[in-house]
Amino acid sequence: MKKSANDQSASGPAPIQEAVKTVIDTLGISSESNLIGVLQEVQARCGYLPPEALEAISRRIKIPLSRIYGVVSFYAQFYTEPHGRHTIRCCRGTACYVRGGQRVIDAVKAELGVEEEQTTEDMMFTLQTVACLGACALGPLMVVDSTYHGNMDPRKALRVLQMYQEDSG
């Protein structure tokens, strides 16, 4: 099921604020810093871009918060809500589609009980679909974090998911 940032904060905003503070402090952000690089780094360390982080970045880098949200909301790579431990990106491009890509997506959705851009309740997976991953020869394609899993079908895809679940378990 979808998790919102509010649910996350219910489990205690203090740890996030602490984490944000630590990350921002260690990065040594100044008005000379490159905004997108900073956002990527903070997201890599915090898992997503919490509002506290964006506010802190805005103050340090001296770029208005509105503009930071503009950048964050423009790029698909940035998330302002907590993401699962693993990000699944399934291709819905033409090459994958004709080889049954949609069935893979449907199977993953059914298995995890989430829609696109949603995160599982156990915060394990976030599901995204993308227009092309640039490896059409391997289609249908599913990328988990940065690992490419090619020639997928519903059964194989579920096995891949299971693999990640066991690893974490």
Partner: protein, 907 residues
């Protein structure tokens, strides 16, 4: 030979090109768009707003033109003109391209021009019409998100937004607020505050400049909905009635009411930009509480009477009291809200008809120390440079001015300078918005300005950064200054001010090393018992570094009221006639006696606070107040109220039954600024025309006509056919206004000194020499404020203004948008102190001083230093001036509004 050289010069700086068959010569670097404008060709455009003065973004592609020899069409707004270029702006190919652009843009517009507020003004509608764009084939499924209203005034309708980005540009790069930006991508892209951030925490000040630049109906003013569209509204260009910046505003009126106010793009000192007060603070004009008939107190009640009766009574009582107690038992308060002409007539009335110099006004409470201090140092007590001059400053030193709240248009100019990289030094006990932009922030303790400035001077001298040549040629008294600042070492000053030594040194070096550095100051400097000394210290610093009399420099006091400069210029002061001509100068007095055909008093009169004291002592028997509200605006208001109650006669002429008018014996209903012709003089000495847009309500009359009627009843013939005739008299007796006539003002505003009909006005004063000849250094020593915290009253209270309200709130609190933005006053208190007092944000506290007490909600903020609290004086339900002390600067007689001691307890 000479002509050849001239030609050469043109060849290097200017280029010629042909646009639609017309030859045009423009400076190198001009864009094709601007070159076309030069010859009257207005190329269609949506995303570019030349009046913003910002680089074009080139995103809408409507301004495409054909340049011979270049393939494809180019965006003229971004394309530089080149020599011998041949440009076509309106071929069939171009029109076809533009048609497609407009088609694409209107494809997701609801096209509800029938009911759209912007119908008739909408640029998209205009271009669709001009280009003959028919119902588009690109119409996508209609998406109609609900319009968003984040604050009391501004509505954003996403479906009408073409994402041109003008609003974002004005917010980030003109206002330097950065509250809104594009959010999302693709069809979802919209203009938005940061998601999840409430408007009042987003930095948005609701200035509404985004509305003015929006080319469609996407941004609009909630208050003007269904109130009339462009062709139904009458436009009147006039001057804003709030602060001293003197912004040009356009009143849009219908059925004798103001529907909305806008800026005039690119025009006026504000270049068409307005602040929240100027744009939305107008409901007071047509407010139901406006005074509409004269009142006389009968059996304790103010009762409506005819004008005849009210004027007869007032004139008769004034005459009686004059003959019984002498003219000096009568005082007058003139008004910084009224026009120059009205102020002139008022002081003339007091001097020529009543026969006293007891005439003063609220400048006593804001910049009396400026008038005194700068007159001593330079010979003229006004802003030395102009507002647009800040664009040329290489460094800016702001001290005691919360510019972004109190003079927002100048505040934005300072922020723009800082954004460009101009070093900004801000000295203020409170961490005001400008401190976020400061290169160096000096958080000095309240009332330690002289020490701080002397410290800066010490460092300049120690480092040898003073301008010796300037000092030798242009000034006197340098040796005395040098000796006086000897002891103000950074270490010594740091102890007094609590500013770190390194910051003092750094600030001094930034200021002194800049080729041209501007000092901007306001009430934080003037409202002290050492107000005049503070001003003199700043004058010392400026002269020491050669920073007076050149562009980008100067000593620039920002005046608080729309016409406080003019009221001073007109002689609404107890010691001078118009143009600062001294009443005790026999030659001057003889001139005025001849002009007014009456003999005049050679004795300077009483100042505002002295009048109140004299009234309390029974020496002043009558007071004639025009457009002022001393009960709320003057220090120690309990004392003021007591004094006013003792008077035998209190005449109040106002637009509302103010707290002062409620005590009056006679109340005379006056016209508001929008109902008047006349002139206001802004903070940079610019005399600007005020135009009438509305009829006064009921029987309310023009101030100058009321005064003239009173004068006639008292046996002095005072009558003018119109305000232009008053200005002619002002010009005749006032050398600095000598060349100012209504005919010339129709061509454009003039900055005094303007001595005769050929004088072009004076944007920068003291250029070749100071008004007094040589600039004079006045050594000044640090003196602590009169009343500092002690065990009984442990907090230091400072008072001032906030962005959304103005002075005693008579106007701003009767304006819906402003009242909705801030409806209740609060006192700023540091979190540490709040904890000690045992309160949290929003809880009420009792604030007490030796003079009175109030209850008000606490605003817990780190903006104030621990041990200090800040309170605005706008609130009648929690009047700050019940607490303040009437301790006066010995020279300027300005009260120390900025420092007194209070105690704070949980209410």
């Amino acid at each position: 030979m000479e002509s050849e050289m001239t030609t050469d010069k043109i060849m290097t700086d200017e280029i010629s090109l042909s646009i639609d068959g017309t030859e045009v010569t423009v400076p190198d670097g001009t864009t094709v768009f601007m070159a076309a404008q030069r010859v009257g060709i207005d190329i269609p455009h949506l995303c570019y707003d030349p009046a913003l003065g910002l680089p074009p973004t080139g995103s809408c592609r409507l301004c495409v033109v054909e340049i011979e020899g270049q393939s494809g069409l180019v965006a003229s707004c971004c394309h530089p003109a080149a020599p011998d270029m041949v440009v076509h702006t309106n071929t069939e190919e171009i029109r076809t391209t533009r048609r497609v652009v407009v088609q694409l843009l209107i494809s997701d517009c609801p096209q509800e021009c029938l009911i759209c507020e912007s119908c008739g003004e909408c640029q998209l509608q205009k271009y669709a019409y001009e280009l003959g764009v028919e119902q588009t084939a690109l119409l996508k499924e209609p998406v109609r998100p609900e319009p968003i209203q984040d604050g009391p005034a501004i509505i954003y309708d996403h479906s009408k937004c073409i994402l041109c980005g003008r609003c974002v540009e004005v917010c980030h790069n003109v206002e330097v607020t950065g509250a809104i930006d594009f959010l999302g991508r693709g069809f979802d892209t919209r203009i938005s505050l940061p998601p999840g951030v409430p408007r009042d925490e987003s930095g948005c000040t609701e200035c509404g400049n985004c509305i003015d630049v929006c080319p469609t109906g996407a941004l609009s003013f909630a208050g003007a909905r269904r109130a009339g569209r462009v062709w139904e509204l009458q436009r009147t260009v006039t001057i804003c009635p709030y602060c001293g910046v003197g912004c040009q505003i356009v009143l849009h009126t219908r059925n004798n009411r103001v529907v909305k106010i806008t800026g005039e793009p690119g025009l006026g000192v504000n270049q068409g930009r307005l602040c929240v007060k100027g744009r939305f603070g107008f409901d007071f004009i047509g407010h139901e509480e406006r005074l509409t008939e004269p009142l006389i107190r009968r059996n304790g009640e103010l009762t409506p009477v005819s004008w005849e009766e009210a004027l007869d009574f007032a004139a008769q009582r004034l005459a009686e009291l004059k003959s019984e107690f002498g003219p000096d038992a009568i005082g007058g308060l003139s008004s910084a809200k009224c026009t120059n002409e009205e102020n002139y007539v008022m002081q003339k009335f007091m001097r020529a008809v009543v026969g006293t110099n007891n005439i003063d006004h609220c400048a006593r409470l804001c910049h009396a120390s400026t008038v005194a201090g700068l007159a001593k140092a330079f010979g003229s007590g006004a802003m030395t440079n102009s507002i647009d001059d800040l664009d040329q400053a290489n460094a800016i030193f702001v001290i005691g001015s919360n510019t972004t709240e109190c003079h927002p248009i100048i505040g934005a100019a300072i922020k723009r300078a800082a954004q460009r990289g101009v070093p900004l030094i801000v000295a203020d006990p409170r961490a005001i918005e400008l401190t976020e932009f400061a290169t160096v922030y000096l958080q000095h303790k309240h009332g330690t300005d002289v020490a701080l400035i002397n410290g800066l001077i010490h460092v300049v001298l120690q480092d040898g950064l003073e301008d010796r040549d300037y000092i030798d040629r242009r000034t006197e008294g340098f040796e005395q200054l040098q000796a006086a600042v000897e002891q103000y070492t950074p270490e010594f000053v740091a102890k007094i001010t609590a500013v770190p030594v390194a910051d003092i040194i750094r600030a001094a070096r930034i200021y002194a090393n800049a080729p041209a550095a501007s000092i901007v100051y306001s009430m934080g400097i003037t409202q002290h018992i050492t107000g005049t000394d503070n001003v003199l210290a700043l004058a010392n610093l400026a002269m020491l570094t050669g920073n007076v009399g050149k562009p980008g420099a100067g000593v620039n006091p920002l005046r608080g009221q729309n016409n406080v400069q003019g009221a001073c210029d007109m002689g609404a002061l107890p010691n001078v006639y118009s143009g600062y001509q001294k009443v005790d100068d026999d030659e001057v007095r003889a001139k005025f006696e001849a002009a007014w055909d009456v003999s005049l008093s050679p004795t300077p009169g009483l100042t505002v606070v002295e009048m109140m004291n004299a009234a309390a002592e029974g020496k002043l028997r009558a007071l004639y107040v025009m457009g002022e509200n001393p009960v709320l605006s003057d220090p120690d208001s309990s004392h003021v109220e007591e004094a006013l109650r003792k008077l035998d006669l209190l005449i109040v002429q106002d637009i509302f039954l103010s707290e002062t008018a409620q005590l009056a014996d006679v109340v005379l209903p006056a016209a508001a600024f929008a109902e008047k012709e006349g002139t206001f003089t802004n903070t940079e000495r610019r005399v600007q025309r005020v135009h009438k847009a509305l009829e006064p309500p009921g029987e309310a009359r023009l101030d100058w006509q009321i005064i003239c009627d009173l004068a006639r009843r008292m046996g002095y013939e005072m009558s003018y056919p119109d305000v232009a005739a008053i200005q002619d008299e002002i010009a005749a007796v006032t050398p600095i206004y000598g060349g100012i006539t209504y005919d010339r003002l129709a061509e454009g505003a003039l900055q005094w000194p303007c001595s005769d009909g050929d004088h072009p006005g004076t944007p920068i004063m003291h250029v070749e020499k100071f008004s007094r000849g040589l600039g004079k250094f006045h050594p000044v020593e640090f003196i602590p404020p009169q009343e500092l915290p002690d065990d009984e009253y442990p907090f230091l209270l400072s008072t001032g203004r906030i962005l959304q309200h103005f002075h005693t709130g008579t106007m701003s609190r009767r304006s819906d948008v402003l009242d909705e933005l801030v409806s209740v006053g609060t006192i700023e208190i540091h979190p540490d102190d709040a904890e000690a007092v045992g309160i949290v944000d929003g809880q009420p506290v009792r604030v007490s001083s030796r003079r009175g007490q109030i209850e008000i909600g606490a605003h817990v903020t780190e903006r104030v230093m621990p041990g200090t609290v800040f309170l605005a004086f706008h609130y009648r339900e929690a009047p700050a001036n019940r607490l303040t002390i009437a301790a006066l600067d010995p020279i300027a007689k300005i009260p120390e509004f900025k420092v007194c001691a209070v105690s704070i307890t949980k209410a």
